[in-house]
């Protein structure tokens, strides 16, 4: 009797162990997302699709063409529609904007004003002076203070005026439109709208680390890892809601070192210098174009003013990493992020200081 009872218990335990092992094994049989990657918008674009419609290959090819069209439209230097307009405005000529350009620039202008001009898409000349407009910046020193001062106070989009002849003129010849902190978001929004129109219900469009999600990955949410700005690995995880975007601006992207000093590409329009005090800003918002511009605006605003600017822009989910390593985030951001390291020192702050 006694032996029989123990045999029964042994079998129970073994069956339980086998069940747990099988459950664990199920993780690797989870259905996968299809991935499609290509170069567009000056970066690597990856589109992951779960439960794709039958004609997904054609849809993805069209999405790629759409994003290449956006890249060509918004390129500020070299060849392209905006680059051509910039040259004409700079030479004092009137210009006509195509409808997509006009709509985008007007929206960028509204965001710029609400950000207190921390996001300023009219400072292309400053970007060029620093050499950040080129994929391959030459090994040269940072610009001298006199050259920077000549471009200050920085021109604003307010300098563009529509005249009775239907053409736009610039009253500031230093104005050079550079939509680098906005056009990627606009393009991602457009790609996501296109995918939804074509019946894609579950996808992530990831343009060089800035992304927007549609639907879910099967029976779970899409999972995004936010890279640590100062160390290898992941800082935090975010589970995405439908049609939500996550954009991060960091000082580690385009940068160079000169005589031991690091200079990054996020310029403060007030000083003409790389903005200091923050190393990365992460914004969650349904509007990818706004998330893109807001990440830059909050970065420029710095540790003292980022909450005020977030409030002005209608951004309620934002997280900053300060240059002293401290992390701050809004109340609505807190439940959305799970830090990889439980000892991370992150404080929650109200939106308006």
């Amino acid at each position: 009797m006694q032996n029989g009872r123990w045999l029964g218990r042994t079998l129970q335990v073994l069956v339980l162990a086998l069940g747990v092992a099988l459950l664990a094994a199920c993780r690797s049989s989870d259905s996968q997302a299809e991935r499609h990657s290509f170069f567009a918008l000056g970066t690597l674009v990856e589109i992951s699709v779960h439960s794709p419609p039958k004609d997904i290959a054609a849809i993805l090819r069209e999405t790629e063409a759409l994003l290449l069209e956006e890249e060509n439209r918004w390129r500020a230097f070299g060849q392209g529609e905006l680059a051509h307009i910039n040259r004409r405005l700079s030479a004092g000529h009137p210009v006509a904007f195509s409808e997509p350009l006009r709509d985008g620039i007007q929206r960028a202008g509204e965001i710029s004003t609400r950000s207190g001009y921390r996001f300023n898409p009219a400072i292309g000349e400053l970007v060029r002076l620093w050499g950040f407009h080129e994929e391959a910046r030459a090994e040269v020193p940072p610009p001298d203070t006199g050259s920077i001062a000549a471009l200050l106070p920085a021109p604003r989009l307010d300098a563009l005026h529509l005249h009775d002849d239907g053409l736009w003129r610039s009253e500031d010849e230093r104005l050079w439109l550079d939509m680098g902190a906005f056009a990627k978001g606009l393009a991602v929004d457009r790609a996501v709208s296109f995918l939804r129109e074509r019946g894609v219900r579950n996808a992530i469009v990831n343009a060089g680390g800035d992304l927007k999600a549609i639907g879910r990955h099967g029976d779970r949410a899409w999972r995004v890892g936010v890279r640590n700005p100062r160390a290898s690995g992941i800082l935090a995880a975010i589970e995405m809601n439908d049609q939500e975007s996550v954009f991060t601006s960091g000082d580690y992207e385009r940068q160079f070192e000169w005589q031991g000093m690091r200079y990054h590409h996020i310029l403060d329009p007030a000083t003409g210098q790389p903005a200091r005090g923050i190393v990365s800003v992460t914004v969650i918002h349904r509007d990818a174009a706004l998330a893109d511009a807001a990440a830059t605006a909050l970065f420029v605003a710095g540790p003292g003013a980022w909450r005020k600017i977030a409030g002005n822009l209608g951004v309620d989910k934002a997280m900053i990493v300060r240059d002293d390593g401290e992390i701050r985030m809004t109340e609505n951001m807190q439940p959305r992020v799970t830090f990889e390291n439980a000892s991370v020192n992150a404080k929650v702050q109200a939106l308006s200081p």
Binding site: L14, A21, A24, Q32, R35, A136, D210, G225, S232, T282
Partner: protein, 118 residues
């Protein structure tokens, strides 16, 4: 005194650990490195240490695969953003040398993250 039930529980624990270990091993085995260049995509197993050299539009990009991770170790581009990305450790991570048109991604059957934000 050791009873038959204690032995059974111990055996079950060992069986569970072995089963979970085998599962983790099979997951890491499923990780592959995708290298895209000049419209070609090549795949390499992430568990096999090796150095991969691919031709891009500017020149040669050198990629190191070690201990299930992958990184770019040499590139003809100037800014070296692809090198600065460091090791890609999680399935779903990717980096690219945009000027040289070479991309590197670590993919897995059930990645911890579907995309990396930076």
């Amino acid at each position: 005194m050791i009873r038959a039930g204690d032995i059974a529980i111990a055996l079950a624990g060992v069986a569970l650990i072995i089963a979970l270990g085998a599962n983790v091993y099979s997951e890491s085995k499923l990780h592959t490195v995708h290298v895209a260049h000049a419209k070609h995509v090549e795949q390499f197993p992430a568990w096999q240490d090796q150095v991969v050299r691919v031709a891009g539009t500017l020149g040669e990009t050198v990629i190191e695969i070690r201990d299930g991770r992958v990184r770019v170790v040499a590139s003809p581009c100037v800014q070296k953003l692809c090198l600065r990305a460091g090791w890609l450790e999680f399935a779903g991570e990717a980096t690219a040398c945009v000027p040289n048109k070479v991309s590197v991604a670590l993919l897995g059957a059930d990645p911890r993250f579907d995309a990396i934000n930076f």
